[in-house]
Symmetry: D2
Amino acid sequence: MFVNSMSTRVRYAETDQMGVVYYGNYPQFFEIGRVEALRSIGLSYKEMEARGIMLPVLKLEVKYIAPATYDDLIEIRTEIRELPSTRITFHHEIRNDAGKLLTIGMVQLVFVSIESKRPVAAPDYFMELMQPYFEEKEPS
Amino acid sequence: MFVNSMSTRVRYAETDQMGVVYYGNYPQFFEIGRVEALRSIGLSYKEMEARGIMLPVLKLEVKYIAPATYDDLIEIRTEIRELPSTRITFHHEIRNDAGKLLTIGMVQLVFVSIESKRPVAAPDYFMELMQPYFEEKEPS
Amino acid sequence: MFVNSMSTRVRYAETDQMGVVYYGNYPQFFEIGRVEALRSIGLSYKEMEARGIMLPVLKLEVKYIAPATYDDLIEIRTEIRELPSTRITFHHEIRNDAGKLLTIGMVQLVFVSIESKRPVAAPDYFMELMQPYFEEKEPS
Amino acid sequence: MFVNSMSTRVRYAETDQMGVVYYGNYPQFFEIGRVEALRSIGLSYKEMEARGIMLPVLKLEVKYIAPATYDDLIEIRTEIRELPSTRITFHHEIRNDAGKLLTIGMVQLVFVSIESKRPVAAPDYFMELMQPYFEEKEPS
């Protein structure tokens, strides 16, 4: 399993008149979570696009447990629980500075060739960086 | 069952560099779909807040089938399939002008008293407007 | 001079915790104002991009007089006061349903070739549609 | 004069189909610039609101010189050039990682009492923190 955590501060723009973060802004938090998760092992999503692969989203699920509020320094935890193939699934948890769980999310994306617009297998340079996190432990 | 449809045009701001609508903008489309659905039977969400009830979101699910693109006049179809109680669930389908299904969404919200911040039953004026759509047909 | 007006309804997503529309959302309102203004004379900005010309923004000015609030049906008035050349300037006024002036805006854009990334003159098909609005009245 | 700099990374959500940051997203960058500028001297905008003062925007001006692109680590420089009174003006410059100037902005805000909704003088705790940056140098 692959795990990464990063923090970001809630912007005023992200609140709504309920006084909390608008429900539609969490997908952006998941986006920056997964981009930073990949960057942490040397993968740049930007470069991946430059090399011809994009990652459109297939599925999104969010559970809203408690609201994030303005100026909160939220922690976005990102997990990849299964070795990606043509698809990759990110699991997210967002917590506030007090450690309170606010949101649980799941985003499934698909590797697509920018040229052909068709699904493709995750590129080799991607899989090589991922594999160490999914290696079976040898029985002793 | 209650059904409503409305249309809105995709803004340039809503696209991303993939050349399609950013995945995180669909919750906004669902929001305007459900607000207009309620307005169509004389329910103003704005007034409901003014009268002390708000509707925070508990759960969101989105399936992305095909992308909406800039300037598309998209149709947002909104269904309420079960009589609301403390919670209300909206089911959405988004289609482009060609009738192609782009996105399927589900949003579950909870009636909350603005004063007490606690879940409450849907207010009577809400239920009265909803009930006709959920009446059992008498067996003949 | 060319003038157009269109209306749009303020989304919940566009409010912030001050209970009014976030100041950074008005550029989106200006965008939809200018796109609909052009559409009203048969010009599709989408097609213009498809034909190789894009219109990045050079300058933006906004005066905030009174706030728009959630669910307001705002009117976006768009004026082109001078015949475009390489640049085009839109002047905007936003009013609420009561006719109250909320915001004054100015957006200057430049015609750019998507291929060369360089400024170009406004395309002929654009100028032909614009010219009637800027013809000198003959002295009688 | 008061000066502060902070950095933030451009999100995918902030791009549009031109392949660059949407022009309407810069006000959000200015917002986080000014909030972090104030935080750097111990002023929390969040607390200021909690203590009864809000800062709605009166005026915004942006010059777009070159576009920010996806994943750029942009620097937001924030200056307060004059001692605030009822109003406060922030001047911003945004640069990319290569030091290239992308955007120049100016945002003028007004101190408003949340209770009375009327303009007020900047609160004392605000002025005390600001004053050292605007003290006249004694002639020697």
